[in-house]
Symmetry: C2
């Protein structure tokens, strides 16, 4: 893209789209340059566009395509991998205003604009006695479009699966400005290739969702909760393996000592600061069955060495612990800027991963607080950065890379639920290998031959055709 092309594109955008959806002054645009990954390499956008309709997105994409101007789509800006980082002189497409939500209780589906928040979708479903399960810790502030773009996970996934398991259809604006509808309110539909599922997790690099259609299920039953503390990391991960081999709790979360202490600093709820690890487990089976399940899990925890177990069928008491777990990331962030990891491994390697992370922290003399969606082997090691200490920051970044290398060695993934974005792109090839990486490029090329859709997210931009 040449500066002249950018200027020409901006002029056409200004002529074509209503002024009230355009943001061009640098001060106002500043807020749109970064997502939560705070990528220091973020560019300054040519323009921020905040459309109301699919048609406006199409008009925008047509202009961008004609002049080969990159478009970075953005939901709520809570992404953790830099998938929405602004590209220098590109278009930043904020979908925050496309946030309509319509629930159809008969088909048990919801149609939502990409800018609707996850929590808003949950609330709309709940008004009909229904439930949209996927629950990233940030569910109150993250957008459903971003959730679909990253195939987001959360705490309930151990029993209820991830975002893709709930996506039945979508409207997508393609790289040439055409809009297509994929799928629909049908649980079963095998007519044609699985394009809907391909777009889920594509991080804005294949098309721009302007509407998503999601499957809902009946409201979750009130959970019974168990909190167990462990004297060693190994005893906690052994409990996890024993539990998941036998049953399917609706939540199975892990916090290590650094995380427990950060949460305790923030909440003063009386967590055991000496514990090496803590598990928070829930069962949402019908009444008696939930208590049975939690009792069995308590026995497992005790048998693997838990020092203390606390079970409650009071939903508020249980929710207090879940809230504590959800606030773990902000609690750690009080200690300074953090590098947030998202590595996952096959469950039998969870112990090796958690112990290996502790060793990496020690070797580099950095604090790494590890929390995990333990039931699906997905961990979030948080590496704390000391702002005024460049040497520590260098060690922290080395540790960050080594954690991913460790996950790959253990047969794991470099990202379980946050996405590759721009932050994790350097490790993607190591993880996928050259052949699968090349397949990714082929699909990208097939759907976005000009390379204008979120260039640099997931994949290194290829030379364009022109």
């Amino acid at each position: 893209m040449t500066p002249a092309a950018a200027a020409q594109a901006l002029e056409e955008i200004t002529q074509t789209l209503p002024a009230e959806i355009l943001v061009t002054d640098p001060v106002s645009m500043e807020a749109y340059r970064f997502d939560r990954a705070q990528d220091p390499d973020a560019g300054m956008p040519l323009v921020v566009v905040r459309p109301h309709t699919t048609e406006q997105v199409q008009q925008l994409v047509r202009i961008a395509a004609a002049h080969r101007v990159p478009i970075v789509p953005r939901g709520a800006g809570t992404g953790l991998s830099g998938g929405s980082t602004a590209v220098e002189q590109g278009i930043l497409l904020s979908l925050d205003r496309m946030n309509a939500i319509e629930v159809d209780p008969v088909t048990r589906t919801v149609v939502a604009g990409p800018g609707a928040l996850n929590a808003e979708v949950k609330a709309a479903a709940a008004a009909h006695g229904l439930w949209y399960p996927p629950d990233p810790s940030s569910f109150e502030i993250c957008s459903i479009g971003g959730n679909v773009a990253t195939n987001a996970g959360g705490l309930c996934c151990v029993k209820y699966g991830v975002t893709t398991d709930y996506v039945l259809g979508m409207t997508v604006v393609l790289a040439d400005g055409r809009a297509v509808r994929l799928g629909g309110p049908r649980l079963k539909d095998v007519a044609g290739l699985s394009l809907t599922k391909l777009f889920v997790g594509s991080e804005g690099a294949l098309g721009i969702f302007t509407e998503v259609q999601l499957r809902l299920i009946p409201a979750q039953k009130l959970p019974t909760t168990l909190v167990a503390t462990f004297p060693t990391l190994a005893s906690a991960t052994e409990a996890v393996l024993t539990i998941t081999g036998q049953m399917r709790p609706s939540m199975l979360e892990f916090m290590d000592q650094a995380t427990i202490n950060a949460v305790e600093d923030a909440t003063k709820m009386g967590l055991d600061r000496q514990a090496a690890a803590m598990l928070i487990v829930q069962s949402d089976e019908p009444a008696g069955a939930a208590l049975d399940e939690i009792r069995r899990i308590e026995e497992i925890c005790t048998s693997t060495g838990a020092t203390e177990c606390f079970a409650t069928d009071d939903p508020d008491d249980g929710e207090a612990f879940v809230t504590a777990r959800r606030m773990a990331i902000p609690a750690i962030e009080r200690q300074g800027a953090v590098l947030l990891e998202d590595v996952g491994v096959p469950l039998p390697r969870l112990g090796d991963l958690v112990l290996g992370i502790a060793q990496i922290a020690e070797a580099h003399d950095v604090t790494i607080a590890t929390m995990a969606h333990a039931g699906d082997g997905n961990t979030h090691p948080l590496i704390v950065l000391r702002k005024s200490d460049p040497a520590q920051q260098e060690r922290a970044h080395r540790a960050y890379g080594e954690v991913m290398d460790l996950a790959i060695r253990l047969g794991g993934t470099i990202t379980g639920e946050h996405g590759v974005g721009r932050l994790k792109r350097p490790w993607l090839g190591d993880y996928l290998g050259p052949d699968v990486l090349e397949l990714n490029h082929r699909i990208k090329k097939a759907l976005d031959p000009g390379g204008i859709l979120n260039p640099g997210a997931i994949l290194v931009p290829e030379e364009s055709d022109s």
Copy 2:
């Protein structure tokens, strides 16, 4: 492909692969020409290859790619849409011998060869107290590779989802002979585009699975069963809508009068031949909760006009009705050859679909027996063909097309779980529209530029690059 290229390819195959995996005599090859769709246009293969290993598949594909010889992959040959119909002078790749099954109870996953039968996978999982839910009616004779290739459904999908919801990874041989591993035993993995999900349902047109990795869940609880008969189609479909809006039974099956009578002819189990429709509903909630759920469903059925309801928590009694439902297709087939439909609609249109099908049957003076996975709006109208009556057959084929047209008009799909194959290909464009159809072609072209993988399945073959 020229005859010379085919001859050259056959010579290389014979030189490269062991003789014991090759079938070349026409009599033995006859059994491999057709799947259950019995496509009269099936060709005669150049050779049938029955490999044992991924490496043998790779060797075969490399030769096929070099000479542009088509390859049609085949699992157990139970496909209902002609997805495995032999192509004239193409390679028929039967994966029946690649049937190893390995369960890992700790990760709750199974690795299976594509030729393993669905029932064998279920049995292997059950030996560890685990369950592989997807259950096509043909589960005892269909292959897991075919299930993944068609994203197969079944009876449990109303609660447990379809095949894609259980596919975590696979080994795929690509169109150039490279083998890649996608995904793995991780519930969460968002590193790179969702290629695993793209290959699910691709009907052999994008690559050849030589191994699939599936998610398992804890064993299903013994079900409680309700059978309800209705005086009208409308009262039965109203019951379905009321049930699904409130709860999630583990099975919700429908049979119309023609189906009931065919099953009664075959089983003499005492079904009500006068009933316009019958529902078979199961709950697999824990003990007391299942009975509660079935009682609520019974109340709903009674309130919408059911003439008789029979509930049982005896698993064998319940299974007798499920078996009756599963044998509906063979029972109809006793009346003659059938055209088997697989149309699905959004649930609120189920009544319109079922009534509309009855009208199409009457208008064309043909017998259409309709059974349905009612809980997910997926119906199987079976149109009976009278072999010695060409005029009736012509009317039957017209009715077959009109049923698909009706489904499309009602916002439905031309195939819910069987696949497009070759039989339904003429309707795919009407259903998808030109833009989505073109997207399908673009993906196909990106992954199989030479067009050698199952040409004619799903999509009309494009002119190849050469």
